[in-house]
């Protein structure tokens, strides 16, 4: 049952990386989209595609935190105790990001839009870095267990954690760019599609380079992780590399749908690979998953809620994503769905 709960936790982490990560990436592209005029079209596409889904994507983070503190409370407590600096920064970044994004959509003055947009975009870089650094700190065994705090600074300012942070930023940017190529393609905007395709290629290459450097860094700085990645998790590392390369090839060939699927595969394999590499540890070499797990009753409750969520939430999520995609179709300027749906054209009241 402990293993099943750990799988549920990692399911959440992977979902957050894939969905939440892409939203962060969109913020990163928003940041580098240039001045108000030049960046208007890419920013509009970004708004368009993450607008309705970003809150639901954000909930995966809450899911991970809640499962962690309920089912693996000692690990949660140790992580928070040691890594309070990057986690506080991430929490503040999330406030700025969420409210900045919401407010930007609700105001009209260009100056207001720019300020809220800046808050949204800058924190879109800060939060993935902090999250990646937290992952790196945990994976490199710098979070001690048993109520002792590790060093508040060197635990996350070290080679592995920094690689983790940079990799998180570049992977978010990569995922997001690939999704946006597909979205632009669907609304038939070839300019924007090309715009994000070029950026997706750059982000894919950068991610690959960081991951490659990471392997050498881990070898000396995070030996347990390195050993895991080169043994237990090796198949996943290979799958991730292959998916990454295929997705890059598809991007170059202009096949955005396949690029999207393979980019998801590449990122999911890396996240799951991280989990497998540090197995059976929750906090490498100081706390095993089995030691961190709560009592049976608690784990049962978490699993039951998860099954219930799968039955209730997944169809609702599917509905949301379907409607989101439909809106992109409507944007092509074809059939006016509103007319079809209500039987009346948009007459003034």
């Amino acid at each position: 049952m402990t293993n099943a709960t750990a799988v549920v936790l990692f399911f959440g982490v992977t979902a957050y990386a894939l969905f939440g990560g892409a939203d962060f990436g969109a913020g990163i592209w928003d940041l580098v989209a240039g001045g108000a005029e030049r960046g208007e079209r890419p920013r509009a596409l970004i708004d368009h595609s993450i607008g309705p889904v970003w809150e639901a994507n954000h909930v995966w983070l809450i899911f991970c935190l809640v499962v962690l503190w309920t089912a693996f409370s000692t690990a949660f407590s140790s992580i928070m105790l040691t890594l309070y600096v990057p986690l506080t920064l991430a929490a503040l970044g999330i406030v700025l990001r969420g409210s900045g994004f919401a407010f930007r959509k609700a105001v009209t003055r260009p100056r207001d839009r720019r300020n809220f947009g800046a808050a949204f975009a800058l924190s879109s870089v800060l939060v993935p870095f902090c999250m990646g650094a937290v992952a790196g700190a945990i994976a490199s065994g710098r979070v001690p267990s048993g109520g002792n705090a590790g060093d508040p600074w060197s635990s996350w300012i070290n080679p592995t954690a920094i690689i983790g942070g940079l990799l998180a930023i570049s992977v978010c940017a990569y995922l997001s760019a690939v999704y946006l190529v597909w979205d632009a393609h669907r609304i038939g905007d070839t300019d924007l599609s090309e715009y994000f395709r070029r950026r997706a290629v750059v982000a894919a290459v950068v991610s690959g380079v960081i991951a490659f450097i990471g392997i050498f860094v881990f070898r000396t700085d995070a030996t347990y992780l390195y050993d895991g990645l080169t043994s237990r998790a090796l198949p996943l590392v290979v799958v991730s590399a292959i998916c990454g390369l295929v997705s890059l090839g598809m991007l170059l060939r202009g096949s955005s749908m396949w690029a999207r699927l393979f980019s998801i595969g590449a990122v999911a394999a890396v996240v799951v690979g991280w989990g497998v590499a540090q197995w059976p540890y929750m906090l490498p070499e100081s706390l095993k998953v089995a030691q961190a797990a709560g009592p049976t009753g608690t784990l049962e409750a978490v699993l039951v809620v998860f099954v219930f969520a799968a039955v209730v939430i997944l169809p609702a999520l599917a509905l949301l994503f379907t409607l989101d995609q439909k809106s992109l179709l409507a944007g092509e300027g074809g059939a006016d769905q509103t007319v079809a749906a209500t039987g009346k054209p948009g007459a003034p009241r």
């Binding site: 368009h48 639901a56 935190l65 959509k105 009753g297 009241r349």
Partner: protein, 485 residues
């Protein structure tokens, strides 16, 4: 003050930060829980009676709601982090029990996030009744989510459903017993009713203000009547729920009750003290005393002869892995008891005022088939938003400060639960700044939306979070309003 001075007591800073961020978030909760319900009332009217004013109201409300929901979601996320950042020892030990209601809350929050998006998004794209039904899960999820969080808070007051081993580790957990703890039905009902009372008054007060400024059209009238009626119906119910909760506290949490009623020594025929305070030597001074009333209210069956436990009556504790404390130290300090008592007086006083106003409103409907048409009524109604928020905050102070010094009643003190991180003062100051900006901006943004819509007489889909963007830039499909047919 220099940094080392500020850093002295991380417990007090952690407490201050938690209190501030929770106190901020709790204002957004009623809107998240009850606004969708009121929006659906307007939406129902709009479809059923082909009422364009109601339709416009429902559309605008759903869009304001999107902003408050987004801010509530991020401030709620901060709380999620803070459980670990500020109270690592508490979470490390009691996470397996305390966390269970939150897993269920997560489920509801997920549902809410999805359907808020679908509802706001669906105005133009779904058929009217189908669209209406996508709003219903928001109402259910709002109720479920709020009640789940309160289950966790009630558990802190009445911890049960777990076993500790010798080392103080939680070894056996019964999820049902944790969720349905003794305090849960009372606290859950109380907060749920509060969400509808506060949400109703908050929204109604904005329209009351508009009507006082001369905007007495049908649109404003509806915008006032719908939420005010909801609040006016819920307020008397809330009084009854509050009364039974108080009696529950009397029976189960004597230390909190002694602080609420300002009772130094266990006695019968205890007076109800309105205002007043405990002085340093532990006796009551000042205030207005109503003879025997505290005893009478505690149990009307035995009337004035009801024995009310005083502050000294708490059992001394050394069990449950908690440090041994004297009876007095087992409950709030004198300063804390004074805070609890004052907050109690404010809550009951303002609650009564709101109930009287509700009765006035109800009688007016009964006899005149309309709300009271005097400006005095509208002036008071315009204040009910702020007043009801103060009432709710006061009630929350009663339950939290009244539990001191415990974080988990009789199991773990706040002091032993807190982080030892000496930098909390800094995060508190930063959070204070950020929240001030976010709070002010939220209000400005909502006012800006309202002004813009009033001027243009229309509402566009593009200018709200979750809503589809102004796709004019992306070609075709310019936003347009479609009246419900």
């Amino acid at each position: 003050m220099n940094a080392s001075l500020l850093a002295v007591d991380s417990v007090q800073w952690a407490r201050a930060q938690m209190a501030f961020t929770l106190g901020f978030h709790i204002i957004l909760v009623p809107l998240g829980v009850s606004w969708a319900f009121m929006t659906l009332i307007a939406n129902y009217r709009a479809i059923k009676y082909d009422d364009t004013d109601a339709l416009q109201l429902a559309q605008r409300w759903s869009k304001y709601m999107a902003v408050t929901f987004a801010v509530g979601a991020v401030t709620g996320t901060v709380l999620t982090f803070e459980f670990g950042l500020l109270w690592p020892t508490f979470m490390g030990r009691f996470g397996p029990a305390f966390g269970i209601p939150f897993t269920i809350e997560g489920l509801f929050f997920f549902t809410e996030a999805i359907f808020v998006a679908i509802y706001i998004y669906g105005w133009r794209r779904l058929k009217p009744w189908a669209h209406f039904w996508t709003g219903v899960p928001i109402v259910i999820a709002g109720i479920g989510g709020a009640v789940s969080v309160i289950a966790a808070n009630a558990w802190m007051n009445e911890p049960q459903g777990f076993t500790l081993n010798r080392a103080g580790k939680v070894v056996d957990v019964s999820p049902w017993s944790v969720i349905f703890n003794k305090a849960f039905p009372y606290e859950g009902a109380h907060m749920l009713a509060a969400a509808y009372v506060v949400g109703g008054f908050l929204i109604a007060s904005v329209y009351a203000m508009g009507m006082l400024r001369g905007r007495r059209d049908r649109y404003h009238r509806l915008g006032f009547i719908i939420p005010f009626t909801v609040a006016a119906i819920m307020t008397p119910i809330q009084m009854a729920v509050g009364d039974s909760l108080a009696r529950f506290v009397y029976n189960n949490e004597p230390a909190k009750f002694a602080a609420i009623e300002l009772v130094p020594k266990t006695n019968k025929d205890v007076p109800e003290t309105v205002f007043g305070h405990l002085s340093a030597n532990g006796t009551v001074s000042g205030g207005i005393r109503i003879p025997g009333l505290a005893s009478f209210l505690s149990d009307p069956a035995t009337g004035k002869n009801t024995i009310v436990p005083g502050r000294e009556a708490n059992p001394a504790l050394g069990a449950n892995g908690a440090a041994a404390v004297s009876p007095i130290a087992n409950g709030p300090t004198i300063a804390q008891a004074n805070v609890v008592h004052l907050a109690w007086d404010i809550m009951v006083g303002l609650g009564t005022l709101l109930a009287l106003l509700s009765v006035w409103y109800g009688l007016s409907w009964l006899f005149k088939r309309d709300y009271p048409k005097t400006n005095w009524f509208l002036r008071i109604a315009a204040c009910t938003g702020v007043l009801s928020v103060v009432t709710m905050e006061a009630g929350w102070v009663v339950t939290e400060v009244g539990r001191q010094p415990w974080i988990v009643h009789n199991y773990m003190t706040v002091t032993s639960a807190a982080t030892t991180n000496s930098g909390v003062w800094l995060t508190f100051v930063v959070i204070l700044g950020i929240y001030a900006v976010v709070g002010v901006t939220t209000i400005l943004v909502l006012r800006g939306m309202s002004r813009r819509w009033r001027e243009s007489g229309d509402v566009a889909d593009s200018d709200v979070p979750y809503g589809p963007s102004d796709s004019g830039i992306l070609g075709g499909d310019a936003p347009q309003e479609v009246p419900v047919g």
